[in-house]
Amino acid sequence: MTKDAIRQAIVDIIQEILPDEDMGGIELDKPLRDQLELDSMDFLDIVMELRKRYHIEVPEKDYMELNTLGSTIAYLEPKMANL
């Protein structure tokens, strides 16, 4: 998957969790938690959707890598490169 495709995959997951949210305005380097008011239940959903859709495991110790959209893409790039 290209970087753009990974970005789209993450945005699609967040859009499923927040169907009413406008995804166009997400900034790459601002915490998702603050931009979208996500809580720990929502982050668990992102992790679980990544596992369900792409069979990617995100261990609990790596949750901080999902802080921003940019850091999430960077973290997932090596894991999703061959998909």
Binding site: E37, L44, D45, E60
Partner: protein, 464 residues
């Protein structure tokens, strides 16, 4: 047959947990002893009339609320849309004690204004209490029991106002007698006064139908008329359940909404050793539904009344306690053309009284039926203290007692709010066996669904 998770009980907590687990690929079976889903929040049809079992109002009304609102969390977690609940807000409710009435609507400003008006000397204290409540993290699963009575009395110095606040909160969610856990008080205060009352316009049936549709999409198996007789445990860990019919169903985890005491009884005796036995709940209720001849001449949605100066919230020394109660008038929600009232809603009154399960249990046959009729009349007379309209002519009524609750839910003593011993983290002495629902500690329609969701999430996190 082997499942990742078996869920005991198809009430709201069980269905919500099942949707979560199955959505993420778990193989899930929900076993329900009754022939219908919904538990305490189910519906039934009798003599060609449709009724909800327990519904007065749904709390936590937060339309388009912040994402942190409990109802908004549950919508996201279950991938549901707010519109699917077709909620209509209450009009206004009131708390009535001799000589003083506190009206309140949705949003804390409303009650704050009433308190300032009726208890001017307590206005500032009440604002401080609200600040304290808003600052408390009620979702922290590590919170320990502490006395809400003591905490609140330290801020509010008029005992009458304290009792008036506790009346609705205890009736709608206290398994403890005479007191509540402070965390539970905060949950209820936010749910009832800060957010407020609403109802799915069509009652519980459309809500349950939608949850069942989500279960089906996610691949949940629901087995009705399938009670659980025991939970199998090997080396301190769950291995499966055995149904009433004697069928063995293997699984790695069990989530039980049966209750703390009831779930312990499913397990082999040796497992319970060393664990402090949870206390059975003692708080149960008689609930009557009356269809009046004429529309009910009262504008309130819910009226909480107490006919004496001090509130008593404990198992009574009588079939029912006639000194206090709750009157719900389901016709008095803000229905719209798109979200219309059900048939006869404007003529329907529901009345709740605290009841003694032991006294109801000893009555047999005709004596039981006679007692129900007699108490139905006495309860209406008592409630007319606060809602004179309930004294009018009745064309149809149906009454349930603690025995009815025990029969349909399996809760010991028909204890609607379960055991006073809650397990916030759901853990039991058995690995893989967790409590959800009433005895996990989140109550009400929104609370019980969040309970199922929270414990399902905990299970998924531990499994990864």
């Amino acid at each position: 047959m082997k499942y990742d998770t078996v869920i005991i009980g198809a009430g709201l907590s069980g269905l919500a947990a099942a949707i979560r687990l199955a959505h993420f690929g778990g193989k899930v079976a929900v076993l329900e002893r009754h022939y219908r889903v919904g538990g305490l929040n189910s519906f039934y049809r009798k003599d060609r009339r449709d009724f909800d079992v327990g519904l007065h109002a749904m709390t936590n009304y937060a339309p388009h609320g912040p994402k942190s609102a409990p109802f908004q969390k549950l919508l996201r977690q279950l991938r549901l849309r707010e519109e699917e609940f077709s909620l209509v807000p209450q009009t206004q409710s009131r708390i009535v004690f001799p000589g003083v009435t506190l009206p309140f609507g949705n949003g804390i400003e409303s009650l704050t204004a009433s308190v300032a008006d009726r208890f001017p000397s307590q206005a500032d204290n009440f604002r401080r209490l609200v600040e304290e409540v808003l600052a408390h993290d009620e979702l922290n699963l590590a919170n320990r029991w502490s006395s809400a009575r003591q905490r609140v009395a330290a801020t509010l110095t008029d005992p009458l106002l304290v009792d008036m606040l506790f009346l609705p909160l205890m009736y709608y969610g206290s398994a403890d007698e005479e007191d509540m856990d402070f965390t539970q008080f905060v949950v209820m205060m936010k749910a009832v006064f800060c957010e407020g009352f609403c109802r799915p316009a069509g009652g519980m049936r459309p809500v349950l139908d939608r949850l069942l549709a989500r279960c089906e999409e996610a691949g949940v198996e629901i087995h009705l008329r399938t009670g659980v007789a025991s939970v199998e445990v090997a080396d301190g860990k769950v291995t499966g359940v055995v149904t009433d019919a004697g069928d063995r169903i293997g699984c790695d985890a069990v989530l039980s909404s049966a209750g703390n005491v009831e779930t312990a009884r499913f397990c082999p005796a040796s497992v319970a050793d060393g664990e402090a036995s949870p206390r059975a709940g003692r708080m149960s209720f008689m609930e009557s539904i009356h269809v009046m001849k004429a529309p009910v001449a009262d504008e309130a949605t819910i009226v909480f009344f107490n006919r004496t100066d001090r509130l008593r919230y404990r198992k009574p020394d009588a079939l029912i306690d006639l000194d206090s109660g709750v009157v719900c008038m389901p016709g008095n929600f803000a229905y719209t053309a798109d979200r219309p009232a059900p048939a006869e809603a404007d003529r329907t009154v529901r009345i709740t009284s605290i009841a003694d399960p032991d006294r109801w249990r000893t009555l047999e046959g005709d004596a039981y039926a006679d007692a129900k009729e007699r108490m139905g009349i006495e309860q209406r007379t008592a409630a007319s203290f606060a809602v004179p309209a309930v004294g009018g002519d009745v064309v149809y009524h149906d009454i349930f007692t603690p025995r009815t609750v025990e029969r349909f839910t399996g809760h010991v003593n028909g204890a609607v709010y379960g055991s006073p011993d809650k397990r916030r983290d759901g853990k039991t002495g058995v690995r893989g066996l967790s409590l959800i629902g009433t005895d996990q500690g989140f109550l009400g329609i929104v609370g019980s669904m969040l309970s199922g969701i929270s414990i399902a999430n905990q299970l998924m996190t531990e499994r990864k």
